[in-house]
């Protein structure tokens, strides 16, 4: 009696699992393309904000190089990420570097930092954060324009010692009530610029090649 009930229920549940699995699988297959398309578009939008479409003629999403292993710590990365390269007529004019500020007020602040060929900032965007709503979340462009202050800055402009929030004697504004978040972002952008400087040959090979050609001549 008990055995019969167990096997009956077992069969019933198996049947159920099969049906639900089928429903799930078909929904997954139906939406798979649309999902990757949406993800692609969202990613693209963020990249285009930093290096607009007019400035390059290649596919930003496809033209990538992996972040070199020795730079993971400097960029705050814990797993493999890609650097997106923007080219105009084959020449790299800018690179979009993933970077994570590990010392935000509540955890990691994931950003992408666009660096121009002349090692100035093309733009910085925060992709993901858990900072306090209303205070630290002003690093997000949808909350405030603060992040645009980085545009055009470089390691020489302002001077390296000025790459701090005002409270620490630097040139960048902090927010009322929130210093930790902007401090983390400013320092991480500076580190990213340092990475771009030391890895100039990797990011912008064309400049390097033309220089060597000149020296050979």
């Amino acid at each position: 009696m008990l055995g019969a009930s167990i096997s009956k229920n077992g069969i019933l549940l198996t049947l159920f699992a099969l049906i639900t699995a089928t429903v799930l699988a078909s929904t997954f297959l139906m939406t798979r393309e649309q999902i990757s398309e949406s993800e692609r578009r969202a990613q693209q939008r963020a990249l285009f904000e930093i290096i607009p479409e007019q400035r390059h003629d290649n596919d930003l999403l496809e033209d990538v190089i992996p972040v070199p292993l020795d730079a993971w710590a400097q960029l705050g990365l814990r797993d493999a990420h890609h650097i997106h390269l923007a080219r105009q007529g084959g020449e790299v004019i800018g690179a979009i570097i993933p970077s994570v500020a590990p010392d935000g007020y509540s955890g990691d602040i994931r950003m992408i930092v666009g660096v121009n060929k002349d090692l100035s900032i093309a733009g910085v965007r925060v992709l993901n954060h858990r900072e306090t709503p209303g205070l630290g979340d002003k690093v997000d462009l949808s909350r405030s324009d603060w992040i645009l202050d980085f545009d055009g800055t470089s390691l020489t402009e302002p001077a390296p010692s000025r790459w701090e929030v005002r409270k620490d004697g630097g040139d960048f504004d902090q927010f009322t009530g929130a210093t930790i978040t902007p401090r983390a972002v400013v320092r991480q952008v500076r580190r990213t610029l340092a990475f771009a400087t030391t890895h100039q040959a990797l990011l912008f090979p064309d400049t390097q090649i033309s220089e060597t050609e000149e020296t050979e001549q």
């Binding site: 229920n9 639900t20 929904t27 969202a42 306090t132 709503p133 209303g134």
Partner: protein, 238 residues
Amino acid sequence: MSEAVDYQKISGNGLWTNNPALVQLLGLCPLLAVTGSVVNALGLGLATLMVLTCSNITVSLIRKTVSDAVRLPAFVMIIATLTTCIELLMRAYTFELYTILGIFIPLIVTNCAILGRADAFASKNKVFPSFVDGLMMGLGFMAVLLAIGAVRELLGSGTLFANMHLLFGDMARGWVITPFENYPGFLVAVLPPGAFIVTGFLIALKNLIDARIEKRRAILKTKPIKGSKRVRTTGAVN
């Protein structure tokens, strides 16, 4: 079923008398977490409404095949499947909203309001009444989400219907209402404590209204005794 199903009562139950959020206090976790703005509240409200309605229909359809012993695992399987489907669809078509609501979409599975309705109503009733019950409970839940979302958005950031394009596409970009220019923002309303406070006030408001209705009903009940003759002549009185 011999007696006619009282749809009015089912609707009243879901929307008011037995409202999942204000009376049953179910699904409070998403309720408190995502109601920072109207668009977030609407997004999660709609997703929950869909899952709740579909799960009620499905559970009602299979109520005679599933034995008592395995009914809960079967219901959970149905709800989990539906939630995952909704999650995939949102990820495909409202990607930005999906990233904002994040973990709270998969967590719809754990919203007790859904399993509660499946077990308490859909497993004992026919398909159509179950559909109505799911719809009304879902609408009741969504209405509360929207109310809290609206209050918190207005108090917290001084806007209403901001970012509606996440849900309705580009045409909704202009829907945002900013009643006060240069509103400084009220941080507590945006943070989780604000959700608790607003929810508390809403529950109090509902109880207040209920008490008023009760009082009026009591007055109405006593009235017919006094003026019963006159009232009766004009026709039917309940």
